[in-house]
Symmetry: D4
Subunit: 139 residues, 8 copies
């Protein structure tokens, strides 16, 4: 990665749909040269993909919450933490799911249609552990 | 928003750089028709932008952490919480900054080059409040 | 609901037994007109009922307490939270029972004849979860 | 207070606007006799008033929360806790305000139009102490 | 109980072995009159007994601790809290055992020969609940 | 201290007003011999005094509480902890005051006429630190 | 132990491989005299051994953490705490393992190759209790 | 570092005073060859020194404790955390002092002659922050 790659990444971070021509004009390269560099960063795994930034409120999301989950463990302490994370990450309400230090727990960021939806989600994830919920207050 | 708009959003969520032609073929519309619908969703604020998904580890990020910040308040309880959030969100290490319920606090998600970088960040945000740090353990 | 309805509600909030005649004089309507508006607010569910404000101390209540209850869950995390709330709300000591954020718990406001009565209540609700008690100190 | 008074209280607790005639029929006394007993319970302070039960959601309340408030104290520990409670109880959002055991704090039950309203309330009461918020999740 | 009884209690609180003659001289009554009053306070249960104040350090006590004990409950929440308290109070190390508000727990004040003795006590009471220990630091 | 001294202590612990004659009969010594041994244990500081066990409820105590007090410290961390303890121990409501491990705090056991009395005590000790109160629930 | 022994210990604490000749020159004794004194301190158990101070980072340690472990107990509260400590102390990642006051727990200091290694260690010790992790941030 | 260096480190970890001749015999090298390798590991900073393992109890240590210290910060949040750590590490009672995640704090391991010594240490470090103490219970 050189200075030009960094510049390309910066422009794509502002607008991931930016045309290679526009980027090229800014950077001083041709569109195909930009395309080649982008494909290489994709192949190297530096660029993992292109995501949409939607307005969740306009799509019906009224409640956002951080939920920490102290993991239940079996009688011998055995657990399938990695499997739990994968199952939780696959739920449609879940934006992120991270294992964090402190109490042995997962931190889940979830988006919900309303508080009722949040409550039913809490019931659903209760099989994995004891939850603690903090609602995000947009200010 | 109708069923076609939803389908378009779904495809852009998988790949925000998808060409309108490809989306159109899937949805049964022409590329210009897709473009028109996308522009309308942009104008309505449903689509807020297009983001890059980069591999932060490959860009030199070794430490990711959630930091909660109980806000300092002046002798009369006055505070500029909204200003604090804006100042913190503008820091390059910060991915998210949310006001949450529970103790009167902010929840910051930050990415850092290493633990030393995290420590200097903690010193920097100490002007805003008392911090509590949980490191993300990739599993 | 218009301005007159709001005025009627305000007067009933001060004294729910206020006669429609007195309210009418204040509002500038006849007693039957007030009666019609009140019945409509009852039918729309805006007015749910009329409650007595009694002095609980004079009726033998010496101990009031907030009790939070972290819900017990079965081995598979299953629970009948909704049923628990209904069972607890039906107890004569219980004034309110709300599910709240934070630790996955219920918040119960209870009135008791004395501390002994509170202790026997704590034993009774122990089947639903682990309790934490804060006594209300009248000042 | 005798058995008849108890019966009268019970009927008024179900419907505080019940006519004395209806109560009398149930209890086996004339309407004036019921009226006399009710006035005596009012004079003795057993009956403190008659309250309206409104549906707050229909009146625009979207957010209900318990807020505990650890009281700020001056450099010499002096405080006007009693005054704080009175000031907080006088706020229109506040349903209850109790001093409770545990950490030296107040427990406030507040009803708010929405989360934004709650946040501005939190800013307002920050002059009295450090707050901790639990949202009520209707289930 | 009159003023003289109060005076007698005060003198016995300073020295519970004080002779009735000495107390009588102070109070202005004969020794038998004091004896009669003391016996009556014993019969009324005002005076429950006479205790020795020993120097525990000189009797080999090196470690004093407050131990709170969150009570274990069976699968149906049943418990024999009263029995637990009696069993714990009967242990020779235990000076006090009180049920307290907050987390559903007992507060035990224990005196131990040394830290090893404290540890074996903690193992012993683990059958009743989860313990938390605070050592008393004589200053 | 020999076996006989231990036996004497045990008898005085059951009843600190026991006559030396009765103790002597049990132990196999004369009353003066018992008196000599007791005086020696007093001189050695093993026996520190004789205390009255009164029934506090019968003397008007309705509220007993453990109060922990995290000590306020000046801007440079200086404190007069030892002085604080002495001032608190001298208050008539205070039965014990111990410095304990955990959060840098004092543990106070206090007896109060009622909750109002407790509240005024909490206001009084607020100059020394931030308090946390647990009411004793007699069972 | 006399003043010379103390001086010898001080020099060995700075450099445990210091030759007896060098120590002797400093202390004013012959090398054999130093050797004799050192052997006696070894025999008395004052000197337990000689340890290497290695730079763990240079040997591949990226993550150091304190982990507290609230001990699991069987249905009857029985436990083999002493055995647990021995098992944990024998693990190669463990530098210290202490039973501490507060919640009934062990405090483990562990050194790990990286966060992944720490996570697998946490899974391993989950059989002994519920863990809480604090990462050491070198500053 | 090769396999032989690792073997040398292992032997020195068991006994840091082991002679190079003995190590050489085990490893299959001459004493001077061992000496050369050890000196090189010293120069590379892999070996930082040689420490004494003393029995602290025999040297008069009765109390060992972990003390966490939430750092005081000035009105603008400024602090000299690094300086604090250095000042604390220089105290003779301190074995370790680490900055850790969780609440913004230091973790101090201290050895003390007795509880009185610990208390005076707590007073001394109160200038740096709010302390929390856990006594180590040798088992």
């Amino acid at each position: 990665m050189d200075v030009l790659d960094k510049k390309i990444l910066e422009m794509l971070e502002i607008n991931a749909r930016e045309s290679f021509a526009t980027i090229g004009k800014e950077v001083g390269l041709s569109a195909p040269a930009i395309g080649k560099r982008v494909r290489q960063m994709e192949e190297e795994g530096i660029i993992e993909g292109y995501a949409l930034k939607v307005n969740h409120e306009k799509l019906g999301i009224e409640t956002k919450a951080y939920i920490t989950l102290v993991i239940h463990r079996g009688p011998s302490g055995t657990t399938g933490t990695q499997k739990h994370i994968e199952a939780i990450e696959a739920m449609e309400e879940v934006q992120r799911c991270d294992r964090i230090t402190g109490d042995d727990c997962l931190c889940v960021l979830g988006y919900f249609r309303n508080n009722k939806h949040l409550v039913s989600f809490l019931e659903k994830i209760a099989v994995y552990g004891a939850s603690k919920t903090s609602i995000i207050l947009e200010v």
